[in-house]
């Protein structure tokens, strides 16, 4: 589908394959992220999110395909490109004997574009005492410090692996604001993996859903919500157990009632159902978490029937 990386792409992945031994963890991944986009990477544990992120950063070598980050092959990223990337790993690695101030000074020395005032502001905003040794910080504080280190040089591309898992709701909101500030001028690109769908719905315009090493959906979040709906059928007579509906993700039929989750609901489809089955059809909107669960209900190909 994607032949070339466009000049405006922060990330352009085509046919990426990653194997660990005989196990294929990522299977022909295509993912194009234009500059300035905020995209969320959503998937269950073990779906390949962290592996994909490590391939993008050149921390893991891919087995096939092309992985371009800021226009350069990820495995060959040089210092110049790396200084334009901010990365927060799942678990921050810090030197416990350094204070927060010393850590910031040390890390910032690697970045020609480090913005001191911005770094100081983030430390103050997140209540990180500069004199404190990092070894005694809580998990949440360490994660905040890692964020400061990733944001302080105002990166063109910010990559975050489960950045908010250990933050409390207040810190999470601050973090999301900082992410939005990164992209406010329309240039900064953000990719973050998470399983907290409500954060993603707020700040990300796009989502890529990973399932067992495949990208099963990649588009605008709004479009996903417009497409996938739950239909409640209430008929006067018993409904057939095997409902043939295009785009059916899941079905529960119980006598005269049925619950269907359908990808690609159109007025024509609703009219057809009403006429064909002599049934009332009510349409329920689904949020991202509900859609994510429906995509993972595991019965997509074989809708099951409730007794």
């Amino acid at each position: 589908m994607i032949d070339h990386a466009l000049p405006g792409d922060a990330i352009a992945v085509t046919g990426l394959v990653k194997r660990f031994g005989s196990r294929t963890v990522l299977d022909s991944i295509d993912l194009r992220v234009p500059s300035g986009q905020v995209i969320g990477l959503l998937g269950l544990n073990g779906s390949g999110k962290s592996t994909l992120i490590k391939c993008l950063l050149g921390l893991l070598r891919t087995d096939a395909g092309s992985t371009l980050v800021l226009g350069t092959n990820a495995w060959e990223l040089a210092d110049r490109e790396k200084s334009r990337i901010g990365y927060v790993p799942q678990e921050a690695t810090l030197y416990p004997w350094l204070t927060i101030r010393q850590t910031v000074a040390y890390v910032s020395s690697f970045y020609p574009r480090w913005d001191r005032a911005w770094g100081e502001e983030l430390l103050a905003r997140w209540d990180l005492p500069p004199g404190q040794k990092t070894g005694v910080l809580s998990v949440g504080q360490k994660q905040k410090l890692a964020l400061v280190l990733a944001l302080g040089h105002r990166p063109d591309l910010l990559i975050l692996d489960e950045p908010v898992a250990s933050l409390d709701p207040v810190a999470r909101r601050w973090f999301l604001e900082a992410v939005l500030e990164t992209t406010a001028d329309g240039a900064g690109t953000v990719l973050f993996s998470t399983h907290i769908t409500s954060d993603l719905e707020r700040v990300a315009s796009h989502v890529a859903i990973l399932r067992e090493g495949h990208v099963v959906f990649h588009d605008e979040i709004d479009l996903l919500k417009d497409r996938v709906k739950r239909l409640r059928l209430e008929a006067s007579a018993d409904l057939p157990a095997d409902l043939a509906v295009p785009g059916l993700l899941r079905a529960e039929v119980e006598g005269t009632r049925a619950l269907l989750t359908v990808d690609g609901v159109t007025p024509a489809l609703l009219a057809d159902l009403r006429q064909r089955l002599h049934t009332n059809v009510f349409v329920d909107d689904l949020n991202l978490e509900e859609i994510f669960l429906e995509l993972h209900s595991g019965t997509a190909a074989h809708p099951h029937t409730a007794r």
Binding site: V38, L180, E201, D222, K225, D226, D285, L286, N287, E289
Partner: protein, 131 residues
Amino acid sequence: MSRSDPIFVVHPSSGVPIYRQLIDQVEALVAGGQLQPGDTVPSVRQVAAALGINMMTVSKAWSRLEADGLLQRDRGRGMVVAVSRETRSLADRKGQVRALVDQAVVRGLQLGLSPAQILAVVKSSLEEKSS
């Protein structure tokens, strides 16, 4: 922006996409006369910052409203409510509210509320919001 700025509320985790929530609210404000032809609507940046949401989402809502002819771009002033728009009929506005009420009533009945109890809920909401 002029006079009292329109206030938008969004629920990111609703099944209704955020841009649609914004479109619905602008349409309702125009239909109800709180936004008059020629009034400026807040900029994409202002709305995104105030609500803590992605700018693209707001931009999309404003573009759709422009394409529908409800808003128009005014050089130097940003987006304004279009002048040539005839106000929607009462029946049309009632129809919009009816669709929402239907949903609420169905949920009320499912939860075992009596018609009188459902009416009481609607009444108390009206009293709060219209005061």
